[in-house]
């Protein structure tokens, strides 16, 4: 039986259907103009695109416990997490379309979304979001607030030094940070058993004297419970936790991935396991009417469609803008208070 209230269930559902539909729509938009021969430089969305369909439970189930002042660092597959953290959907979409009104004025792109209003950031370098999350937790500790930090990474990232060093650092200083591993079984073409020693990534926690919890299914309610406990621990100043969530990759690693390395059965299994469908039945069990479910979903879809339409209407940046924003504006570090040695009596 779910521990979450009906309100929580509907919130999680709304979040997950938003994230799923968002990825489906982006897929459509991205592939437009890249057909029939896939050309990465064509179409309305520039660059690489890593979509997270199948990861929604890990975004919604964790971030539902977070406030705007809590910090999240996400991965190269960030959209579902950004949506769950409350990142401005329109400006995020504009960024993905490379527009001037995007979160980063078109400079960052889909792997580099920054929304300081809700303390969200992400990075395209594997596991490199971990140290900044630890730093966010350190700031909370030093300032004696009760905010926490969450760092997301893939199961392929648990072999990276930045993650392991972050675990030790967080443990040594008892920092309010939660590491969330999204295990989708694949690191691009590398199945996890080929490159990682443990089947359960949460075991990484064992060597660093912190709890490690694995949520074996991607049932969002199990994720919600595990994350609630870990985030509560962090908020109560009881130290860091590692959570691994089994998710699944419904689309390729990136758009255009031929997935020739992936057994068809694995693809089919991923398609069948659908945490959103499962949550729908939980909602019905909790007494939510079908009409209400449809309404939540339709509203979410409209919000996504609206964000995409808005983003596509936004202007592209002026080329000259490429030269701005390297440093803060107005310029810093220009104060001149060098002592005048002659005036203070320095000898010639």
């Amino acid at each position: 039986m779910p521990h979450a209230s009906e309100n929580t269930l509907t919130r999680l559902y709304e979040n997950m259907v938003t994230a799923r539909y968002y990825e489906e729509r982006l897929q459509e938009e991205y592939l437009e103009g890249k057909q029939p021969a896939f050309d990465i430089s064509a179409g309305p969305i520039p660059g690489e695109l890593h979509l997270a369909a199948g990861h929604e439970a890990a975004g919604a189930g964790v971030c539902d416990h977070l406030r705007d002042d809590d910090i999240v660092t996400a991965t190269h597959r960030p959209h579902h997490i950004a949506i769950a953290k409350g990142v401005d959907l329109k400006r995020m979409t504009a960024e993905i379309f490379g527009r001037e009104t995007g979160l980063g004025k078109g400079k960052g792109g889909h792997m580099h979304l920054f929304d300081p209003d809700v303390n969200f950031a992400c990075s395209g370098i594997i596991a490199e979001g971990c140290p900044p999350a630890v730093g966010g937790a350190l700031a909370a500790q030093k300032r004696n607030t009760d905010s926490v930090a969450v760092s997301y990474l893939g199961e392929g990232a648990i072999d990276q030094g930045a993650f392991l060093e972050s675990l030790n650092f967080a443990s040594v200083f008892d920092l309010p940070v939660v590491f969330v591993i999204e295990d989708n079984d694949w690191a691009i073409s590398m199945p996890k058993e080929r490159v990682t020693d443990v089947e359960n990534g949460a075991k990484r926690a064992d060597g660093f004297e912190m709890p490690g919890v694995r949520v074996d299914s991607d049932d969002v309610l199990d994720v919600y419970d595990a994350a609630g406990e870990a985030i509560g621990r962090a908020r109560d100043r009881n130290g860091p936790t590692v959570i691994e969530v089994q998710v699944h990759r419904r689309m390729g690693h990136f758009m255009g991935d031929p997935e020739t390395y992936r057994p068809e059965a694995d693809q089919e299994a991923a398609a069948e396991r659908d945490s959103i469908v499962r949550l729908e039945s939980d909602l019905r069990e909790a007494g939510v009417e079908d009409d209400r479910i449809d309404e939540i979903r339709d509203d979410a879809h409209s919000r996504v469609d609206e964000a995409i339409e808005w983003a596509k209407d936004q202007p592209l940046p002026e080329p000259g803008a490429a030269h701005e924003d390297l440093f803060v504006s107005p310029a810093s570090g220009v104060t001149d208070s060098e002592p005048d040695f002659e005036a203070v009596g320095g000898e010639e």
């Binding site: 690489e48 960052g108 792109g109 580099h112 370098i125 392929g156």
Partner: protein, 337 residues
């Protein structure tokens, strides 16, 4: 280009792979480590088909642990093997910088020449497809700056093969930087040019020998990688404006063929250095300084065409603004006249 009897047209990736395969057949000590190099065949086709021939033991998918596997290549090389390690994107060097900068590059010197590190580090470089600041750099200058690494940058299939044969056989660590846009990958169409006839034989191109890709009289354009092709295109335009441009493909940054550059500038009097790396403290400054040191009197005008000192932005108009285009080269060369 050598007149070997048996040649075929190859894309740059096929040429690179054919050299690796040849060396692996000849020498059991050669093996390849990287992410997605086995079943995927390299995200940029750098190992396409090799796992099928050599198996997982010699074409090794490795954990996403660049420090561990690049460092393991250093150690295996010092133990007498000839490993090749691949950085999927050169931009990821940051997580393994110590193994590259402090171990791979310095062990020979610090041991007084008693230790050698006969390994190759391959790395995909470059932009033009909007992959933004963490996936679009070339970082030529970053690596060429540290003493102890030989650096090669093929611009065509012919160079890709000849440089790879030499890289694997070289007893020193070699960084082999291949431009994604030149590889001939299905989903990232290459410009005309990198696909060339390639001899079947195992020819070697020595490091430190630049190639004059086009003869000219009025201005010397020195460049490397993708921009060799942009410079050749620019030279065509310049020719129709009555300006005769010589185009030099550096092919290796360390060692650098100063002689060929200086000879050309002594003829033309004008130097344009074109680089897809950042402008400051990089290839354009180094080449200019060498010419100034060797042939200051011959030098009338200098132009540097490079990425202004900002990270590579994502949005198309922004990326286009910062990565030197053919027009930028034409304009710079014209300004020297």
């Amino acid at each position: 280009m050598s007149g070997a009897e048996s040649t075929r047209e190859l894309t740059m990736s096929r040429a690179m792979v054919s050299a690796i395969a040849h060396e692996m057949r000849e020498n059991d000590d050669v093996f390849y480590m990287g992410e997605d190099v086995a079943d995927y065949g390299g995200i940029f086709d750098s190992t396409q088909g090799l796992r099928e021939e050599f198996g997982y033991d010699r074409i090794m998918d490795v954990p996403i642990s660049e420090t561990a596997y690049i460092g393991a290549a250093v150690g295996a090389a010092q133990a007498g093997m000839r490993p090749i390690a691949e950085l999927m994107f050169v931009d990821f060097f940051g997580v393994a910088m110590d193994q590259i900068y402090n171990q791979m590059a310095k062990n020979t010197y610090m041991s007084g020449g008693n230790v050698s590190v006969p390994m190759v580090l391959t790395a995909a470089v470059g932009g033009t497809y909007n992959d933004a600041a963490q996936h679009s750099q070339t970082l030529y200058g970053t690596f060429a700056h540290i003493p102890g690494l030989k650096i090669v940058v093929p611009s065509t299939a012919y160079e890709a093969k000849g440089l790879m044969h030499n890289a694997i056989r070289d007893d020193d660590p070699v960084l082999y930087m291949f431009h994604k846009r030149l590889m001939g990958i299905g989903w990232m169409p290459a410009p005309d040019g990198p696909k060339t006839p390639v001899p079947e034989t195992d020819y070697t191109i020595p490091f430190g020998r630049a190639d004059v890709k086009r003869d000219g009289e009025d201005v010397t354009i020195v460049t490397l990688g993708l921009h060799v092709h942009r410079a050749l295109e620019a030279a065509e335009t310049l020719a129709s404006d009555g300006i005769s441009a010589e185009v030099i493909d550096l092919r290796s940054l360390v060692p650098l063929d100063t002689e060929t550059i200086v000879e050309s500038v002594e003829k033309t009097g004008n130097l344009v250095v074109v680089d897809e790396d950042y402008r400051s403290y990089g290839v354009t400054g180094e080449v200019t300084a060498r010419v100034a040191e060797e042939a200051l009197d011959a030098l009338e005008r200098v132009e540097r065409v490079a990425v202004p000192d900002v990270p590579i932005p994502y949005s198309r108009p922004l990326e286009k603004e910062v990565i030197p285009g053919t027009e930028d080269i034409v304009n710079a060369a014209t300004r020297t006249q």
